[in-house]
Amino acid sequence: MELVYIAAAVILAAGALAASLGMGMLGSKLLDATARQPEIAPMLQTKMFLLAGLIDAVPIIGVGISMYLIFVVAPGLA
């Protein structure tokens, strides 16, 4: 019954891949916009943090569930 760990690993890998791509794009757009209009940099940063939190949402829910799989479900099975 070691498939639980593989399942948790897949959840983590997919979430991490998606989040990092999203964050990369978000960061690059932030830098472009700041370069174009430096005076609105603070406002852009608060928006960036809000969006970073939202991008993080699904992968972190995935991390939460995979941690649950690893530490609660897996010992229960074994």
């Binding site: 943090f49 939190g53 939202l54 972190i60 829910i61 991390v63 939460g64 569930i65 941690m67 530490f71």
Partner: protein, 288 residues
């Protein structure tokens, strides 16, 4: 488990991830249970530690803000506490003005409560993992204790569903029947009533799924962040259990690094919870 001696790390992790549940056990009767015995307490089991710590943080919030508000004066804030409270209120007020465009005097207090309460509940993560659970175990013999309420899905989903009911209440109050109309004709709307009637179930299904997804994602996002952070804090704590060696130093360094990272995550999650609450409430107040 007695006296905190654990055979393997997973016992330590298991122990620190289970709540103290108050419930009626089929064979042992009423009492506090934890770990695997919680499963057969059935539906009527209350996570006692989450409830107590959530209420404590709420009381702290109300006490501090009320006492400062009572002493509020127009001139420069004399103590740091007054400064902090004023800064928080101004921050919440400006965010509310940016996001919420309706006219409802209740919205800013709701946003302030959500923000500061979630922030205080999350801030309990900065305490070392074993500080309170171990002292409670030694002093009062409390077997299980998870002090951060937001690592308990019941608490976060409870928060997000109460926000959801607020959204429904204001939607019906402001839009009345228009809310049902908005739900049933939104994506596909046609002049021809027959064609519109055909598409009502399709619209309703899509809109209701979207409506339900809001509180669930709001609650699970906060839970996921805090639960994952808590598990990693506990993992780091197990590293320091191997006596003084390279791992202990590494454990201390990673504990510090993870706590510093959470200096960003804790307020950010509280801010996101408040911002999304405001966004959903302002959507509820939009009246075309």
């Amino acid at each position: 488990m007695a006296g905190g001696v654990y055979e393997q790390p997973s016992d330590y992790i298991q122990h620190h991830l289970s709540n103290l549940a108050l419930g009626n056990h089929p064979d042992y009767g009423w009492g506090f249970y934890g770990g695997d015995k919680v499963a057969d307490l059935g539906f009527w089991a209350i996570h006692f530690d989450s409830v107590v710590w959530a209420i404590l943080m709420g009381a702290l919030f109300i006490g501090v803000f009320a006492s400062v508000a009572r002493k509020a004066t127009a001139d420069v804030p004399n103590s740091k506490l007054v400064g902090i409270v004023e800064a928080t209120i101004e921050f919440v007020e400006s965010t509310t003005k940016d996001i919420f465009h309706g006219r409802n005097p209740m919205i800013a207090p709701i946003a302030l409560t959500v923000f500061v309460w979630v922030l205080l509940m999350n801030a309990l993560k900065f305490l070392p993992v074993d500080l309170i659970p171990y002292t409670l175990e030694v002093v009062f013999g409390v077997p299980y204790q998870k002090i951060v309420p937001t690592t308990d899905p019941n608490v976060t989903l409870g928060l997000s569903f109460s926000v959801f009911f607020l959204v429904l209440f204001y939607s019906f109050k402001v839009k009345g029947f228009g809310f049902i109309k908005e739900l049933s004709c939104n994506p596909f709307s046609f002049k021809n009533p027959v064609l519109q009637a055909v598409f009502i179930p399709v619209n309703l299904f899509m809109e209701l799924v979207g409506l339900i997804a809001k509180p669930v994602s709001l609650g699970l996002r906060l839970f996921g962040n805090m639960y994952a952070g808590e598990v990693i804090f506990i993992l780091i704590a197990t590293m320091t259990a191997l006596g003084f060696s390279f791992f202990t130093v590494l454990g201390g360094a990673s504990q510090l690094a993870w706590a510093l990272y959470h200096l960003l995550v804790v307020p950010l999650q509280a801010f996101i919870f408040m911002a999304l609450t405001l966004v959903y409430l302002s959507q509820a107040h939009e009246d075309h």
